[in-house]
Amino acid sequence: MSSTLRVSLALVALGALALAVSLWLGPSSIANPLADDSATRTIVWEIRFPRALTAWLVGAALGLSGAALQGLLRNPLADSGVLGLSGFAALGAVIAFAFGFAVFAPLMALAFALLAAALVTTLGWAARGPASLALIGVGLSSFAGGLIALALNLAPNPGALADLVNWTLGSVEGRSLSDAFLVGAFLLGGGVLIVLAAPGLQALTLGEEAAAAIGADIARTRMLVVLGAAACTGGATAVAGVIGFVGIAAPHLVRALGGYDPARLLFPSALAGGALLVCADLAVRVLPTDTELKLGVAAALIGGPVFALIAARLTARGGEE
């Protein structure tokens, strides 16, 4: 069995296990989630299952787009959050929500994520070393943050403000099956584009010049990854708000388990992202806090220090992994 397959199977098992535990654990104790009374059915299949499934799909979308962006930019610090795609997607969705066009939130999130992806890959293409690219992303993210504040400021319906702020913190609480379908559709579309880019990502292991010289169409690869990552991030952000670090952590986890090839990293990274986010959501649900911790907040609390560690290790090694 190849190592990619072994890692994938382990991650599928972890995801499935976390999903199963999610059905069983929660504020109201349920002894048997498969029991046939209406209260159990409602809690398990209309609340817990859609929430956990949404978490898995959001995590998978972020993990996949992180792996693709890292491969394209040859930068282990890249992901939708760091590069500003998530921030811009949130901006698009906030504009839609704040001005009463909630139906268009996913499309706006997609369009804005696309804009950020195009900007960051164009500005960052010639960036030397992983840190300089991350800085461009930081710039884009803070710009998006400022514009979100502006949109909230100008929003004609101040009553919705609290909801919006809550949403930008990132959460899958109360998500329905239709939310899960929405992320799933975006993930599928983005996934197809990213899989088409996989050979190009493999070639980019050699750097841009040599990749072009062995026959890779770099412009096409870049376009596919930008579109695919934007679709994944747009869908995930429209449904769950901004959730950082999953996109960085997932590919790193897979690399630590022995996969380096940027093409063979894609699928396991999606599985790892899904499993990680279901576990994180499980944690925020069972933690005994008065108000439930937001998933995006929890991800940042764990992911932030991990990100700093990876960055410090890379800087120490002069940017080579």
Binding site: T205, E209, A210, A213, G215, D217, E321
Partner: protein, 255 residues
């Protein structure tokens, strides 16, 4: 016999600087051409424009009879293989996976190699004396081994023309000679090699034809003794220098 690649009156502008000016030459099967000249003379630009990785603003470039910029990257890769200056390998790929990337243009991937691809990868590893290191991650190799792995990647492409940008930079004499031997065998087998270097002695010992560049122009083109005269060396490098023959090899002495 038609040339593998040819440039006629090629000029390239990089921003406002003229990187190449009225450059013409052709490379045929069996040739080894060494490009010499100081930093900034236009060697890398010449190599890139030959491969279609940079556009010529003036003149005409032909790679196997076609404009390389108009070819699909895969078609281009079947005609010429390229080793850029300071080649990279991200993500700690293994030597074997790196070399297998040379088969990209044939539709192969490191985890999906046909029989022909496997044979080409094995032959390239063998030619660069890397068979025993095939499973090693690239970031555990020495500088010389790493350069040989990148050279093997270019060889695995099985393209007639090898274009190498400073393939011996930073290598010890033994490693540099090993690279030189690989180039010699490629030309003997009916291919052609064009490489740039700052090592005047190695260039003269490896190549039967030297192209000497200065400020974007070719100032000498011919056999080592004919091209690297004391006058030409003084003109290009600004120092008194001469080429000395000893046995089958050359030494370059600068004062």
């Amino acid at each position: 016999m038609s040339a593998l690649a040819s440039l006629s009156s090629v000029g390239v502008m990089l921003g406002k600087t003229r990187a190449l000016d009225d450059v013409s030459f052709a490379i045929e099967r069996g040739n080894i051409i060494a490009l010499l000249g100081p930093n900034g003379a236009g060697k890398t630009t010449l190599l890139r424009v030959t491969l279609g990785l940079a556009m010529a603003n003036e003149g005409r470039v032909l790679l196997g009879g076609d404009d390389p910029c108009a070819l699909h990257p895969r078609a281009r890769a079947l005609r010429a293989a390229y080793l850029p200056q300071r080649p990279q390998a991200m993500w700690s790929v293994s030597v074997e996976s790196l070399v297998a990337l040379g088969r990209f243009a044939y539709g192969a991937a490191p985890d999906r190699l046909g029989a022909a691809d496997r044979a080409a990868v094995d032959a390239a590893l063998e030619a660069c004396a890397l068979s025993h290191l095939r499973a090693r991650p690239m970031n555990t190799l020495s500088g010389g081994e790493r350069m040989r792995a990148h050279l093997a990647r270019a060889l695995a492409q099985s393209a007639p023309l090898l274009v190498l940008d400073e393939p011996t930079a930073g290598l010890d004499p033994a490693q540099a000679l090993a690279v030189s031997d690989v180039m010699g065998r490629h030309a003997q087998a009916g291919g052609a090699v064009m490489f740039s270097t700052h090592d005047v002695a190695l260039a003269a010992s490896t190549a039967r034809r030297i192209v000497l560049m200065h400020e974007g122009r070719i100032v000498a083109d011919g056999a080592p003794e004919a091209a690297l005269t004391p006058g030409a060396l003084k003109n290009v490098y600004g120092r008194n220098g001469r080429l000395e023959r000893s046995g089958g090899a050359y030494a370059a002495v600068f004062e």
